[in-house]
Symmetry: C2
Subunit: 365 residues, 2 copies
């Protein structure tokens, strides 16, 4: 179990595993920063120094967006996420739809069919009941679309000034209904990297909604549950090596994670990565690279080259993935260059992507 495997928990989501590492000592005055929740290096430090040392006796072979559990003869996937997005309502969705599709997508990325959700609400005193009703309706609607049942829940109310309207936690249970093993360990040189659609819309949309940054824009979040196209692939017998949703840290962070975990390198073709004109424009205006911006309905598939066309054909038939396109491939790294992700511009000049130390945008999910 290599140390690198814990890196796959980049979203601030951690799945427990034993690294055999001694934790770094904790400075008694050190405090949590926003970036500790941003999915970058500080999140990884929190996981390595605080979580993993205490949970080192738990299941060893977990990685990715959830834990695989053997229950009876079934393989279940169990995953959780808390949602603290600000603002709660945004073009294309709200914290309710996000809290369903986010966890549904985590299960789907593990190759599981999402089945059940739990719902934990932490509501700030004074929150409008009508807003709560809107969010709950949105949860119910997205759950129905995603074919999952919200089967258990809990409500807590905190004093005014000790929350931010509404925080939501969902935990999800999915069932793996095929025999494929879909993990970063399966990634092989020669594999194709397929992106499910244009990037950066969720993060840029949230940014444009924030106070003082109101663009007069038609931009909507890409938030969506994507388990249907994913399950269509596994049902059709398409061989997939790895999948990953492109949430906190965006495409660049996700691919860096996967390259590091698999100890391989990826080359990407900059020209084909789909970015909408609006995302491009906002990014240029604010100096934010869409490659690092969070998505909530986008993912990558890494699969053998002979599967590429089948994957693209199937993804093209679903709304959420109709813009899927091959953006690069996995290569054998030069010695010492494991984990490199390089992106070629139109002239074939490569640039190595690097991991952000903090986060560009706090509280985008």
């Amino acid at each position: 179990m290599a140390e690198l495997e814990s890196k796959s928990t980049f979203t601030g989501q951690f799945t427990v595993q034993f690294t055999g590492q001694c934790p770094a000592p904790i400075n008694s005055n050190e405090r949590v920063q926003l970036a500790h929740g941003g999915g970058g290096k500080l999140t990884q430090q929190l996981i390595d120094n605080v979580f993993l040392p205490h949970f080192s006796n738990a299941a060893l072979n977990q990685q990715g967006d959830g834990a695989v559990l053997d229950v009876g003869s079934q393989k279940l996937v169990f995953s959780t996420d808390s949602y603290v997005i600000n603002p709660l309502f945004f073009p294309g969705g709200d914290i309710g739809s996000l809290s369903v599709s986010g966890t549904v997508n985590d299960l789907a990325m593990m190759g599981a069919t999402p089945k059940y959700l739990s719902l934990g609400l932490i509501i700030e005193e004074g929150f409008l009941l009508s807003d709560l009703d809107t969010v709950v309706a949105s949860i119910a609607s997205e759950a129905k679309k995603a074919g999952v049942q919200v089967v258990t829940g809990d409500t807590k109310v905190v004093d005014k000034g000790h929350g931010d309207g509404l925080y939501i936690n969902t935990a999800g249970i999915g069932v793996i209904e095929h025999n494929q093993v879909i993990t970063p360990a399966q990634i092989t040189p020669g594999d194709k990297i397929i992106l499910s659609g244009d990037i950066g819309r969720h993060g840029m949309c949230i940014l444009s909604q924030r106070e003082g940054l109101s663009f007069n824009s038609e931009l909507t979040s890409d938030v969506a549950s994507v388990h249907q196209p994913v399950l269509a692939l596994t049902s059709a017998g398409v061989v997939l090596h790895c999948m990953r949703d492109l949430t906190r840290g965006g495409l660049a962070t996700s691919l860096l994670e996967l390259a590091q975990t698999s100890a391989l390198s990826f080359t990407l073709n900059s020209d084909v990565i789909p970015v909408s004109n609006e995302v491009q424009a906002i990014g240029e205006l604010l100096g934010i690279d869409p490659l690092y911006v969070a998505n909530e309905g986008r993912f990558v598939i890494i699969a053998p080259p002979e599967q590429e066309q089948s994957i693209l054909d199937i993804l093209a038939t679903y709304d959420a993935t109709q813009g899927a396109i091959t953006i690069g491939e996995v290569v054998t790294p030069k010695p010492g260059e494991e984990g490199l992700v390089s992106i070629m511009n139109a002239y074939g000049v490569p640039r190595a992507l690097s991991m952000l130390s903090g986060e560009q945008l706090p509280r985008i999910c």
Copy 2:
């Protein structure tokens, strides 16, 4: 499916079911109050008017502290709770141990063996990393004691001023490893009501820690995972009709819930209900009835009278339940008096308990 069954969700915890009821219209100016999270009548209104209408298509036969799911040939229980306790650290425990034992106990009350937990942390910017480490250590320690694995997690950080140090959500998966059905519907006239130990220590302990209410007291919370004694009962083949932990709203609220759900009446013997001298004294000083004060390691068992002695004998062998005692019994209600819980004083004079409309103490779990 009677409307009353949704009442079993008294802790603010709701398990989805269809009541066939139309929701009350939501007033556009109405706001969430602290008492909406307190487990009393307002929590029930929130569940009836906001949650159930939207989730009415979900599993019908769920009630209690979690949802029973058929997965393959296994019966799983799935439950969630968020923890927003203030203060985070208190005599006898902290938010970490509470977030494990609270969810473990919910699973145990459904007769399930707790197996896996998810862990969602919402941390306020500026929280001391050393405090986080203490809480995570406490989670790991309690999980080890309870025999559950923390298999997946998530960390979010919210801006300073938009949290209260730390909120925790845990969701738990348990497996039902026996053939008993343990629900309020099994409660039968003649059943004995057995209490697992003295009441009111958790709530009174939290109260005594709150700013301005510092008693010079040795009082510690009763927070504990109680699945071991519970599973010892089912393993021994003891027949149990119903179990319920005595969290928000305390013994009185839990029993009123169960009496209403089963449409039977309960009579309790006031003299035998164990209350420590300290809890009694604080209660008298502040005018708070220990019957309504939250516990985090106490529960009731309702079981046929021929099982009473076996239950008491087994519970007596565990630290967490060594003070278990029979406190009353289930009776056939007079017509129109279904759901009554009456408590007899030393002179045999009965007093009917009533449901609190709000909560005595906010944020005790």
